[in-house]
């Protein structure tokens, strides 16, 4: 009897905790969706309506027709995030491999430096980065933005990648070496195919992080046609003139969808990769 009650209590408690936290995590998403389908006058109603009284697509229409600079930011964000993800994955592969396989002073030093760099706040770099990059002619270019963001992502990506390389048995390499394969062939044709899940995890991680970038683009890009999403939204749609909350929520919805899709599509790899990196790395 007593045991049974405790079991029921613990079960109820479990579902209560689950429900409370899940509501906390998901309700704001619902609220964003709901607001985006309200008219501005309804959005500004108090007490608020929990379902849009009249479902209005006007914010989406205005987003697609009048305020379509948004899509320039959107496309830019895809380009920058995609290229950055590629660069990061590539550099992470070679760096991660070097760290995982060659236990010499140099790689140990590099590995600890990479961990160290993750601690530096972006603002502290931005104060000087602008001047340095303009000397190199990299201001207002996608190349510059991609390089700067990649530099910030690579430390984590390389560390993550190295944990995947560590899981590849050393014997495979040694066998290939005995067969007379060169170092490049061993790395790119023998070992790298074995860490495909790691590559995916790193690539998606870098993509998600770059999609979220704010400060790099804020400082390094001044041409409105090169701006990326976060900064574009903050700058253009949070102007000084007025708020348009329905539109802002519609933008939020559109800005979030690709990430949700990417995540759910590659969930398996992401989760495995991050867990492997954080738990074992």
């Amino acid at each position: 009897m007593n045991i049974k009650t405790t079991r029921i209590v613990s079960l109820v408690l479990r579902y209560l905790i689950l429900a409370a936290i899940i509501v906390f995590l998901l309700f704001p998403i619902y609220w964003m969706l709901a607001t985006s389908f309200k008219t501005n006058m309804e959005a500004y109603q108090y007490p608020p309506t929990f379902f849009p009284e009249e479902v209005s697509f006007s914010s989406y229409l205005s987003l697609f027709t009048q305020n379509n600079q948004f899509f320039v930011y959107y496309v830019n964000n895809f380009i920058v995030s995609g290229i950055t993800a590629l660069v990061c994955t590539l550099v992470a592969i070679i760096t991660g491999y070097a760290i995982a396989r060659f236990n010499i002073k140099w790689t140990v030093l590099v590995a600890s430096l990479l961990v160290f760099t993750q601690m530096f706040p972006i603002v502290s770099r931005m104060i000087s980065l602008y001047g340095l990059m303009s000397d190199m002619g990299l201001i207002n270019t996608r190349t510059g933005l991609v390089l700067a963001i990649s530099a910030a992502q690579i430390p984590f990506c390389a560390t993550l990648m190295s944990s995947f390389f560590r899981n590849v048995p050393k014997e495979i390499e040694e066998a290939a070496y005995v067969d007379g394969a060169g170092r490049n062939r061993i790395l790119f044709s023998v070992i790298t195919p074995l860490v495909k899940p790691g590559m995916l995890a790193v690539g998606i991680y870098a993509f998600l992080q770059t999609w979220d970038d704010y400060l790099h683009a804020a400082t390094l890009i001044q041409n409105d046609n090169l701006r990326t999403l976060s900064i574009g939204i903050a700058l253009r749609y949070l102007g000084e003139l007025s708020y348009d909350w329905s539109l802002i929520n519609a933008i939020s919805v559109i800005g979030t969808i690709p990430m949700v899709l990417v995540f759910f599509f590659f969930q398996k790899y992401m989760v495995k990769g991050l867990v492997a990196g954080a738990v074992k790395g």
């Binding site: 500004y44 201001i139 102007g239 000084e240 003139l241 708020y243």
Partner: protein, 428 residues
């Protein structure tokens, strides 16, 4: 081997012609075939209310002057100064900055702003109201040329005034009258039963709020700086202004920590009866509620204490950069093209209600027929100049912090002012 030589020769010819082309461009006079491009930094292109106007300006200007082209440099309102300065640091100086009078000190201090009299025709400059030009004068030089001006004026909602039993033709003139009117207005609720705020003064941490606060201090006859730009806050007006803010806050009359755009939203929705704004803030009001013109009226800033309701004059202006004679000529043409009745009339009638600064534009139809601006038109002559302070934007933000301290934090006024002095004096 011969092939290689030929290739080398081609490369040489091509590169040298490129260089030749480069140098030719800088010496030949600008023409329709070889137009000269001027760079105009303009945040307004990113604000939906203003975009169409500026695109029209570019089109019209380039049609009238085929030898010139405009290249916009855009950044949001809050970032454009950074951008212009950073670009200049990289050797890329814009030619014109569209901005506000409050930006002049910083651009002057940075060495970017050039005296407009070096670039613009003297007879064009002479047509501007000297009192307005005084706002742009630092050390004898004029460092900005206004498109139009406005003090912080009082917008009020005539419908709410009627509902509260107040005379919509007789808005308050002093802060004491404001408190009386506010008491009646605060009894009202809107159709949803929501609270209606009687009065709005912006206090959020943005530079323009700091300017609005200085304007309020001037309303009370107070001062913030001495003539030579030192801190000067030991005067009644300064204290009274912040005591008034604290009182308004205690009574729940003023929306807390609001930006101007928050106030515009509330006003547009009929939840704010009066508020201080630059005249062009009305553009933000109509972007939320297109019918706002039917209940909006304006009045001169309130007088408080021993003050006469003096205010800070705001302006949208061009700040010019000297990039050599050829560019200056183009800038001269551009400025004179924009600041004209033909270009500005529709804009000032429909988008940005404001008062012209140029004498010959004083009677333009946009102003003569503006119902929204009529009430406050006398205030334009009752303005006071803010002395030149290079760290102006810093101090403006400190003033916002002071206003927040006496309102949301409920810090006693004297204590808050002491903290303000401590922080501000390290910046002067």
């Amino acid at each position: 081997m011969r092939k290689v030589l030929a290739l080398l020769a081609i490369v040489l010819v091509v590169t040298s012609s490129l260089f030749a082309g480069g140098s030719a461009e800088s010496t030949a006079p600008a023409s329709a075939e070889n137009p000269l491009t001027i760079k105009v930094a303009n945040y307004a292109l990113l604000e939906s209310g203003y975009e169409d106007f500026w695109n029209g300006v570019k089109e019209g200007f380039e049609a009238q002057y085929p030898q010139y082209k405009i290249e916009w440099v855009t950044a949001p309102y809050g970032e454009i100064l950074n951008q212009v300065i950073n670009m200049a640091g990289g050797g890329d100086r814009v030619d014109v900055i569209f901005g506000e009078e409050a930006w002049v000190p910083q651009l002057y201090a940075s060495g970017l702003a050039a005296p407009i009299t070096d670039i613009i025709d003297a007879d064009f400059v002479a047509d501007f109201d000297p009192a307005v030009m005084d706002v742009f004068t630092i050390d004898g030089g004029i460092y900005g040329i206004p498109l139009y001006v406005s003090p912080f004026i009082l917008y009020y909602n005539t419908e709410l005034f009627e509902q509260a039993g107040l005379d919509p033709a007789n808005p308050p003139k002093t802060y004491d009258e404001l408190l009386d009117a506010a008491e009646k207005l605060s009894q009202l609720t809107d159709t949803n039963g929501n609270k209606i705020y009687p009065f709005g003064q912006t206090t959020a941490s943005v530079v323009v709020s700091g300017n609005a606060l200085i304007s309020m201090i001037y309303n009370f006859g107070g001062d913030v700086f001495t003539e030579d730009g030192q801190l000067n806050v030991d005067n009644d007006g300064f204290h009274q202004a912040f005591e008034m803010l604290a009182t308004l806050d205690d009574l729940g009359y003023n929306p807390q920590n609001a930006k101007l755009k928050d106030l515009r939203n509330l006003f547009a929705l009929g939840q704010l009866a009066m508020y201080y704004d630059q005249s062009w803030g009305f553009n933000g009001v109509t972007s939320i509620n297109p019918d706002a013109a039917s209940f909006t009226a304006s009045a001169a800033p309130l007088a408080g204490g021993d003050g006469t309701g003096e205010a800070v004059l705001c302006a949208h202006c061009f700040i010019l950069v000297d990039n050599g004679d050829a560019k200056n000529e183009a800038v001269n043409a551009f400025v004179q093209y924009v600041i004209s009745e033909e270009v500005l009339n529709d804009y000032m009638a429909n988008v940005t209600p404001a008062y012209p600064a140029k004498n010959s534009m004083a009677d333009m139809t946009a102003v003569a027929e503006s119902g929204v601006l009529k009430g406050a038109s006398s205030s334009i002559s009752n303005v006071k100049k803010v002395p030149y302070v290079s760290a102006m934007s810093d101090i403006a933000l400190d003033l916002c912090t002071l206003a927040q301290a006496v309102t949301v934090s409920n810090t006693p006024v004297d204590e808050a002012i002491d903290a303000f002095v401590r922080s501000a004096s390290t910046k002067l």
